[in-house]
């Protein structure tokens, strides 16, 4: 019963933690733009939090390098289960244009499991909202069919 309630709460009001993992800022400002009046994700109950312990959803932008991989893993481990990871932008998905650069490990999925990939360079705010919705479908009762692909 309580589990169901928590699950419902999580789906209806996911709290997200944004971590810039070495992005060019393009996707970061688009993630921030989601919070501003024009897109206003707070109307869906999505709140941007600074503490990984409060977060349900980790939004990662940018490529992973050796130094921030440790930070990323730590943030992921500090988040309570069930947790979702959104890789935003070409860099977060695969390393994008920087795949061959010297200090790039690759996409976010090289370090932590990723639930939803949001393509684009940078990903548009609409795409990020879509990504959150697709991720939440994974938590819900229709697990496995929801979301776009």
């Amino acid at each position: 019963m309580l589990g169901k309630l928590l699950n419902l709460g999580q789906r209806k009001s996911p709290w997200l933690l944004h971590f810039d993992c070495g992005s060019c800022n393009g996707c970061d400002i688009e993630t921030l733009a989601c919070l501003t009046p024009l897109y206003d994700v707070e109307r869906f109950g999505i709140i941007n939090v600074g503490n990984p312990k409060h977060a349900d959803l980790l939004v990662v932008t940018g490529t992973v390098n050796h130094r921030n991989a440790k930070v990323l893993r730590k943030l992921y481990e500090q988040m309570p289960e069930p947790r979702l990871v959104l890789a935003v932008g070409a860099c977060g998905c695969s390393g994008g244009v920087f795949r061959d650069a010297s200090n790039v490990v690759g996409g976010v999925d090289k370090v932590i499991p990723v639930d939803v990939y949001v393509p684009g360079c940078p990903a548009r705010p609409e795409a990020i909202i879509d990504g959150v919705v697709a991720g939440l479908a994974k938590l819900g009762p229709d697990n496995g069919q929801g979301g776009q692909s």
């Binding site: 971590f19 810039d20 993992c21 070495g22 992005s23 060019c24 800022n25 393009g26 996707c27 970061d28 400002i29 688009e30 921030l32 733009a33 501003t36 009046p37 024009l38 939090v49 600074g50 990984p52 940018g62 490529t63 390098n65 130094r67 921030n68 930070v71 943030l75 994008g96 244009v97 920087f98 061959d100 650069a101 010297s102 200090n103 790039v104 360079c121 940078p122 548009r124």
Partner: protein, 358 residues
Amino acid sequence: MKTSILPFGPQHPVLPEPIHLSLTIENETVLEARPALGYVHRGLENLVAARDMHQMVQVVERVCGICSMIHAMCYCQALEEMLDIQAPPRAEYLRVIWSELHRIHSHLLWLGLFADAMGFESLFMQLWKIRERVMDINEATAGNRVIVSVNVVGGVRRDIDEDQVAMIEKELVTVEREVKQLSLTLLTDFTVKKRTKGKGVLTREQALELGAAGPTLRGSGVAQDMRQLGYAAFKDLDFEPVVETGGDSWARAAVRFKETLQSVDLVRQALAGLPQGDLAVKAKGKPEGEATARVEQPRGEVLYYIKANGTKHLDRLRIRTPTFANIPPLTVMLPGLELADVPVVVLSIDPCISCTER
């Protein structure tokens, strides 16, 4: 009194980007600040070995997503100088238009983040609402909101037609009006003044000695702006650098605020004088030798150094970004501050960490 070391970042709610500062504090006062970087380092200067010089345009655009177009413009100017070609006049005017649109959206973004760092949430939302109009212009004219990808070596890739000119002019009227409405709030509000006046002071001498750039330099009373060099179409436009003498956070904010309105004016001038003609000249030949190019970004001067060896792959590409120059001044600004002022002062140099580390 014992001192303690407080880690600030890399994941901090006020910072959109990861930078780590080790703050040595006594009570609430900062004694020393030592930055630790490397969380965004990609090593993209090294990509010149894997990508040819035309592909690098798209790579340098992604040095920083906020001033992407200006990075690419600087890179193209350096290569154009080396190949001894001249972008057509229409391309130069279009470059000015897009680069100034970038400056408007970057400054509005920064002013918003600055307000957010002070806890002035409604101002943040208001500024970002205005900024979306500029993003719409970018998307309508160049196809992408943030990274517009309009430059090629020798000119630009996209054109602006008559309808789009009208659309830009219409939107800019609204942007200008709405920004002006916020001028009293931003520059004279009690809360804002309390949090910024006299905080993080950088004197003119310190600014010059530590090699500060952009609004950080101009906020300390030095009238230096790379647009005075007259690159692209700036030589034909009426332009005067914005200078403030306070050297504190407030002065830097005031410089950026005034530059926003100045950029609106520059876009208008460029639209009015937009000549007809080709968009790009063909970039023939392989570059050889060395060249530098400098342009003014929203955050300050950016310097590109290029060494080419006569093949389509460059030998060395070095990007000196404005925040790279503004981090040493930060180590001077922070000591003596209250801990609560640290985020505001760190933001006052408009740090772009992905630029710094590339």
